[in-house]
Amino acid sequence: MPLLPPRWRLVLAVLLLVSIPIAAGVVWMGLTGIFDRVHGLVPVRPPSLDNWRFIWEGVGGRPPVHVPLLNSFVFAVVVAVIEVFVASMAAYAISRMSFPGRRFYLGLVLVLHAFPAVSLIIAIFYILRVMGLFDTLTGVILVKASLGLPLGIWLMKGFFDNLSWEMEMAALVDGMSRWTLFWKIAMPLVRPGLLALGTFSLLSAWGEFILPFTLIVSSNKALMSSYLQSFLTEAFTDFGIVAAVGLFYTLPVVALYLLGQRYLLNIYGGGVKG
């Protein structure tokens, strides 16, 4: 690798400096998970697997870890699938069709995106109670997916706006209906957008805490975030196990991030590369 010009080396140094606290946190989590007890960042005990016992047994009356893990997987995947499909269909309609109230709707979606979701939590709680969806995975999935839609719609609209009208006209002349055109021409061409939105909403749902924590009370329906939180509320917090669970909870995200970063970079670019 060629040496960076001096000005960039300075920038790099500043960036590294700013990143140190975050890096230190990650290092702490790794070390604590492995060595059980750490003073500062220095391990004081030999490494043990004791902190990882939550993988093969239920700890302190909690369900075994595969229960929240599976719940989280289901939650994240279903939320991502709903967001991708609903957002792309809504975005296509907004991008391509003119209907009464289109501008108003676009503005509304933008406002919803800017609205802090947490402020809605009491209303959401009440609505779920009425619908009989409180303390169900279905309920949280619907809430999380709905809250993610405004961003998804705007993102996908940008991608659909970039598709050429002439190509869609050609597809109609070729004999496609609007519906087939959407699936066979438009959707494959916004694939980078779909992947970006999919990855983004998957990560966001995986890390979601407030919604499942508030809207799910049964421990066998809890997600990983609530499971992790439950270790912090004990009288004597075992930081070794907290770190191990945290590490365990992070691994899928790291894997997904490594696989999906190319598409994630696209999310603010919003372009289709032909």
Binding site: E166, M167, M169, L172, D174, G175, T180
Partner: protein, 317 residues
């Protein structure tokens, strides 16, 4: 394979309150090639898209043969269209692009393969069928777009400024190609071009010394050299509409003369006029300049047997 007659009756299109096209009447015989020309914004593309079925006309009727089609979905019209940007599907190979219309019609796979192969060979792109549009030249993209339009053996072929994105050599080649295909298949073809490309239109329609004719009856108010138009002929149709035909080198009418619709007015570029075979149309309504949409006919041994300016009907004010 022979095309079908296309008739437009009082065709209009409004976008909100803006008139894109006002009451166009046009008869295109089966198997003819007709060119629309005019400046951008005069309604050429709008007309083409209404014939294709992309736009619904605001009023008026479109007939394919005896069948009224303006309410039909594009897929039920049997129309092939080539767009200015080619509009190939970038995520599919040329083969899949060309096969697309047939697959949508649920043609059996072996028949699709045979027809695609045949059409591609005809257009000289048989060797690049496995590539995607981004990996072939502009000329090959153009040919693929043409193949996609032709493969379903349409009754009407619509070409929207198909050559404007090509360089001069390729344009010459494709011009010839389009002519050859038309002569071979006799598909009714509507061809669209801008003023800037007009030179080509006349080239194709009216080679050296081609006579042109009055579209409507009227009185000749001018028949002499006029500015950049070369020899111009100005005809007052008596209803507030005036047409100017320009760039002719030989005049066959004189000022004050009354002409009938269809009367021969002059010859285009018959003697060495320096700018070549150009022809301008200009239309004024009640003294004000208006954009005309002219159409000229370009098929048959006696090419350019008619060359008309569709004045009153298609004037955009």
């Amino acid at each position: 394979m022979k095309g079908i007659a296309v008739r437009l009756e009082g065709l209009s299109k409004y976008f909100g309150r803006v008139a894109a096209l006002r009451t166009l009447d046009l008869d295109i015989h089966a198997g003819e090639m007709v060119a629309f020309l005019g400046p951008s914004g005069c309604g050429k593309t709008t007309t083409l898209l209404m014939v294709a079925g992309i736009y619904q006309p605001s009023s008026g009727a479109i007939y394919f043969g005896e069948r009224r089609v303006e309410h039909l979905h594009p897929r039920d019209r049997d129309v092939g269209m080539v767009f200015q940007s080619y509009a190939l599907y970038p995520h599919l190979t040329l083969l899949e692009n060309i096969a697309f219309p047939l697959r949508l019609k649920r043609v059996p796979a072996d028949e699709v393969a045979a027809k695609v192969r045949q059409t591609a060979e005809l257009l000289g792109i048989g060797h690049v069928l496995e590539r995607r549009p981004a990996h072939v030249s502009g000329g090959q993209q153009q040919r693929a777009a043409l193949a996609r339009a032709l493969v379903k053996e349409p009754q009407v072929l619509l070409l929207d400024e198909p050559l404007s994105n090509l360089d001069a050599n390729l344009r010459e080649e494709m011009r010839y190609e389009i002519r050859r295909l038309h002569d071979e298949f006799q598909i009714t073809t509507v061809y669209e071009m801008r003023w800037g490309a007009f030179h080509f239109g006349v080239d194709m329609a009216a080679p050296y010394g081609t006579p042109y004719y009055a579209a409507h009856a009227g009185t000749v108010t001018l028949a002499r050299y006029e500015g950049g138009y070369g020899n111009a002929i100005r005809i007052d149709h008596g209803n507030g509409i005036e047409t100017v035909y320009g760039h002719s080198s030989k005049l066959l009418v004189t000022e004050g003369q009354h002409v009938e619709a269809g009367q021969m007015l002059g010859l285009i570029g018959s003697t060495g006029y320096s700018t070549g075979n150009h022809l301008h149309f200009e239309v004024t309504v009640n003294g004000e300049h208006a954009d005309p949409m002219a159409y000229l006919l370009a098929h048959g041994v006696d090419i350019a047997k008619r060359l008309e300016a569709a004045t009153g009907g298609t004037v955009i004010t």
